[in-house]
Amino acid sequence: MRKIIIIFFVSIYSLSSMAQIKDSSESTDNSLLKKLPYFGVALGVSASTNGLGINVNTELTKNVVIRLGYESVNATFNNAYTGKIANQSFIITPTWQSGGISAIVDFYLLKGLYLSGGVVYSNMNISATVNSGSAVKIGDIPFLPDEVGQLKLTITPLNRLAPYGALGFGRNISRDKRLAFSFELGTYYMRSYVIGLSVTNLLAANGPANQESLDKLNATLKTISWSGFYPVIKLGISYKIYGETRKK
C-alpha cells in the first residue's frame, strides 16, 4: 500500500515537472505577457467527495488564488443492503450528506501545481438507517416495519469548522485563457468523528441503553490519529470572467 502511494506521488511529481518545463518555455516565448497584471476572477463548479459545488476564485498574485465556495451532497441509497439475523430480515439505507462553505487559499508552486490551505464549515452527516425488512410478529399480532421502528447510526464531525489542506493539479483560474481545469487531493480535519445513534418505536431502548458505550466509543475515536479526517478528491472547472488572458 505504501509503495503504491509513493509511486502515485512520484507520478504526480513527474507530471508537475513536465508541466513546469513546458510552462518555462512558454514563459520565455511570451516574455512580454509577463507584464500583464495577474488579477482575475473566475466562477467555477466542482465535483468532489464533498459534493457538487460552486466557487468564486480570485487570483491575487502570480502564485496566490483565493477560493470561496459552497459544496453539497445529500444522497440516500435506498435499501442498499438487505441482511438477515435469526430469520429476521433487515434493510440498511445509507445516506451521504456532506459539503459546506469553504474559504481556501491556493499557492501555486508551478503554473499547474498548487498547495491549498483553508477552512470549511462542514455539513458532514453520514448515516445508515436500519429498518426491519418484513413485518414482525409480537405474539400473534403482526407489526409493519414502520411500526417496529428504525435504528439510525450517524457519523458527524466533532468540529464542524475544520482546516483543509490539499495538493492540486491544473488551475482554479486560468492564466492564459478563460477556461481552466483542476484536480485536487486533500483532506479536512474535524478533530474526530462523533458516532451518534437515534432510535424509534420498539428499538427506542437502544438509545439510553447504549449512551455510555457510545460515549466510550467517541472517546476512543478522539485518540485515533486518523479519526476526523475527511478525504477530498475534487475535479473542478472554472471560467474566468474578469482579468486579462495571456493567450488570445
Binding site: Y13, S17, I141, A205, W226
Partner: protein, 572 residues
C-alpha cells in the same frame, strides 16, 4: 533541478510520510473493537394503549386470589383481545398473582372513534373452590381500564352471600324426571329453592339429565353491600330491557340466586313439565329503587336472567311483592338455569362525572372511592407523563332527587394528597367536570427507572429486552390492590417515599416477576435496592442526592434465563 522542483519533492515526501508512516490501523481497530463490544442491542415490545388490567380478589378478604384462575374471553370483540405480549392464547388466559392484563390489537381500534364504537367482550373466570364469574367489559377510551373482579370462595363467602351445597338435591329417572320433590332452604328458610316431582331436567342440548342431582345455590342478600359487591360481573350491567332494547343499567336488587344443578359433569340447563321454584323473603326496610320508598305489597319488580355466554342480563318478566304470613315475599318458577335477580333497573349515564386533575406534574395513582365501590386509576395532570388530565366515570347511575354520591380521593402509594379530598355528586352536577388538585408530599422522590432483562452472554454484543409493560406496585405493608405504572421500552417513573419498601410485580405474557424496591438515604447518597425472584436476588444502585428537586435515576438489567427470554421474546 530548479529550487521549486526540489520543493515539490520535499513536500510530496513529507506529506506521504506524515499521513501514512504513523499509521496504526491495526491497533486503532483493536481499540474500536473493544469499545464496540460494550454496545448492546435492545429490543422493546409494543406499548399497547388500550386494554384492561384485572385484579381478581377474594370477595370476602379482598386479597388477591392465590390460585391460578382460567380466564376465557368471548363476545363481540374477543378476536382482537390478547395478553400483554400480543398472544391470543386461543382466548384462554390464566391469572398470575391474581392479576391479568389484556390488550386490544392496536390495529383494530381507533382513538378517535373508540368512544362511539367501543370494544366489547366478556371474560369468564373459573377457579377451583370459587364460583365462576362472567364479566362484560366495555372499553370506550384509548387507555388501560382497571377493573376488579371479586370471586366468591364457596367455603368462605363474604357477608350476605350464602352458599349451600347439596350432593343429593334430588334424583332423576332415565327420562330426566325428578323422582323425589325437594326444598332446599337457605338462611333458616328465608330463601327456598324447590323442585317438584316429575319435573324433567335437561341439559343444554335438551337431553335428559339423569341420576343423583347435586346442587349449589348462592344467594346474594340485597341489604348487604358486601354481597352486592360480590355479585359476579357487578351491578352495573348490560341488559336487554322489557321493550327489547339493550342498555347499560344499574340493577338495584331485591334478591339474587345463582343456582347450579348437575349430575356428574352434566349441567341442568332447562326444565319441562314444570320448573324450579325460587322464593325469598323481602326485608320491609328495603328501598324500592323505583318509588324511593320502602317496599310494600304490590310493588312490581323485574326478574332478570343472565346470559352465560355474554354476561348480559335479559328481562324475563315482572313480578309483584306479596304478603305471606305477615312477611313480604317474592317467588317465581324458573324454566331454565342461570343467575336470577329480582331487581329494579336504573338508567345510567354513559359519560358521568369528569374529574380534571391539576397540580403537581409528576402525578400518581389515585384511589377513588364512592359508595361501596372503588377505582384505582392514574391521576396525572394534562400533558405530563402521558397523562390526559381527566378521568371520566362511565355508566354512572342517574341520580335523582336527594341522591348524592361522595367521591373520596386517597393515595394508594401514600405519596400525594388531593384537594378536595372528597366531592359530592348529585343530580345537579352528575355530568359536570370538577377539578382535583394533586400535591405531592415534599419527601417524595421521582425515580426514573430503566429496567431491562438480558441473558448473560460472553458474546461481543449483548442482546437485552426492554419491554413495555405495567409495573404493579404498592407499599409492602398495604393490603390495597397494586397500582399500575406504565413503562415504555423499559422506562417509567415511580413516585416513592424515602425509606418505604414497596412490593413490585411485573407480568408480561406468561412471565411473572415479583420483587421489592426501597430507597434509603446513606450520607450524601441515595441507595436504591431492588430485589426479585424467589430468592430475592438483590440489585443495588447508588445515586447522589439531588441538590435540588426530587428527580433521580436508576437502571437495572435483570439477568434472566434463555427460557425466560423466550417467554418475553418468543422465537418466531
Amino acid at each position: 533541478m530548479k529550487t521549486s522542483n526540489k520543493l515539490i519533492v520535499f513536500v510530496t515526501v513529507a506529506l506521504t510520510s506524515l499521513l501514512f508512516s504513523e499509521c496504526t490501523l491495526k491497533e486503532d481497530l483493536a481499540k474500536l473493537q473493544s469499545s464496540v463490544g460494550d454496545l448492546k442491542l435492545s429490543i422493546g415490545t409494543p406499548e399497547f394503549k388500550t386494554g384492561v388490567h384485572i385484579d381478581f380478589i377474594d370477595a370476602k378478604t379482598n386479597a388477591y386470589i392465590t390460585g391460578v384462575a382460567d380466564v376465557k374471553v368471548s363476545g363481540k370483540d374477543a378476536s382482537i383481545i390478547y395478553n400483554n405480549l400480543g398472544q391470543a392464547m386461543n382466548l384462554k388466559h390464566q391469572t398470575m398473582n391474581g392479576m391479568l392484563s389484556l390488550i386490544v390489537d392496536p390495529h383494530k381500534i381507533n382513538a378517535a372513534t373508540i368512544a362511539s364504537n367501543p370494544v366489547q367482550f366478556d371474560i369468564t373466570t373459573s377457579l377451583a373452590g370459587y364460583a365462576d364469574v362472567t364479566r362484560s367489559v366495555t372499553l370506550r377510551e384509548y387507555k388501560t381500564q382497571n377493573i376488579v373482579i371479586p370471586l366468591i370462595k364457596l367455603d368462605a363467602a363474604p357477608v350476605g352471600v350464602t352458599v349451600t351445597d347439596n350432593s343429593s338435591f334430588t334424583t332423576s329417572s332415565q327420562s330426566g324426571a325428578v323422582q323425589t320433590a325437594n326444598v332446599e332452604t337457605i338462611n333458616g328458610g328465608a330463601q327456598t329453592v324447590e323442585v317438584q316431582q316429575n319435573v324433567v331436567l335437561q341439559d343444554a342440548s335438551g337431553n335428559p339429565v339423569t341420576g343423583t342431582i347435586q346442587s349449589q345455590i348462592i344467594f346474594y342478600d340485597p341489604t348487604s353491600s358486601a354481597a352486592q359487591n360480590a355479585i359476579p360481573g357487578g351491578t352495573n350491567v348490560t341488559a336487554k330491557l322489557q321493550d327489547g332494547t339493550t342498555q347499560d343499567i344499574k340493577m338495584e336488587s331485591a334478591g339474587m340466586f345463582s343456582i347450579s344443578l348437575k349430575a356428574g359433569d352434566v349441567d341442568v340447563k332447562t326444565f319441562t313439565n314444570g320448573g324450579l321454584k325460587i322464593r325469598t323473603i323481602v326485608s320491609p326496610t328495603l328501598i324500592n329503587a323505583k318509588t324511593r320508598l320502602a317496599v310494600k305489597v304490590g310493588d312490581d319488580i323485574a326478574l332478570w336472567s343472565k346470559q352465560e355466554a355474554t354476561g348480559n342480563w335479559v328481562f324475563e318478566k315482572t313480578d309483584y311483592i306479596k304478603s305471606e304470613n305477615g312477611v313480604l315475599v317474592l317467588e317465581e318458577t324458573l324454566t331454565h338455569l342461570s343467575d336470577w335477580n329480582w331487581a329494579w333497573p336504573e338508567s345510567t349515564i354513559v359519560d358521568g362525572p369528569k374529574i380534571v386533575w391539576v397540580g403537581d406534574t409528576i402525578g400518581e395513582s389515585v384511589k377513588i372511592s364512592f359508595g361501596t365501590n372503588s377505582i384505582t386509576t392514574f391521576a396525572k395532570p394534562n400533558g405530563t407523563n402521558d397523562g390526559d388530565g381527566v378521568y371520566q366515570l362511565h355508566d354512572f347511575p342517574v341520580l335523582t332527587g336527594y341522591q348524592t354520591i361522595t367521591f373520596e380521593f386517597t393515595s394508594p402509594m401514600d405519596v400525594s394528597t388531593f384537594t378536595p379530598s372528597s366531592y359530592e355528586i348529585n343530580s345537579g352536577n352528575q355530568t359536570s367536570p370538577f377539578s382535583v388538585t394533586i400535591n405531592n408530599n415534599p419527601n417524595v422522590l421521582d425515580l426514573n427507572l430503566t429496567l431491562s432483562a438480558s441473558v448473560p452472554s460472553t458474546g461481543t454484543v449483548t442482546t437485552s429486552i426492554s419491554p413495555s409493560f405495567i409495573l404493579n406496585i404498592k407499599p409492602k405493608s398495604s393490603t390495597d390492590p397494586y397500582t399500575g405504572i406504565p413503562f415504555k421500552n423499559g422506562v417509567g417513573d415511580l413516585n416513592l417515599n424515602l425509606g418505604t419498601e414497596y412490593s413490585l410485580n411485573i407480568s408480561i405474557g406468561k412471565m411473572n416477576l415479583n420483587g421489592t424496591i426501597i430507597i434509603e438515604e446513606v450520607g450524601s447518597k441515595l441507595n436504591v435496592t431492588a430485589t426479585y425472584g424467589l430468592d430475592s436476588t438483590p440489585f443495588y444502585y447508588s445515586v447522589d442526592k439531588p441538590s435540588s428537586g426530587n428527580k433521580i435515576k436508576a437502571a437495572f438489567d435483570i439477568p434472566i434465563t434463555q427460557e425466560q427470554m423466550n417467554l418475553l421474546n418468543p422465537p418466531s
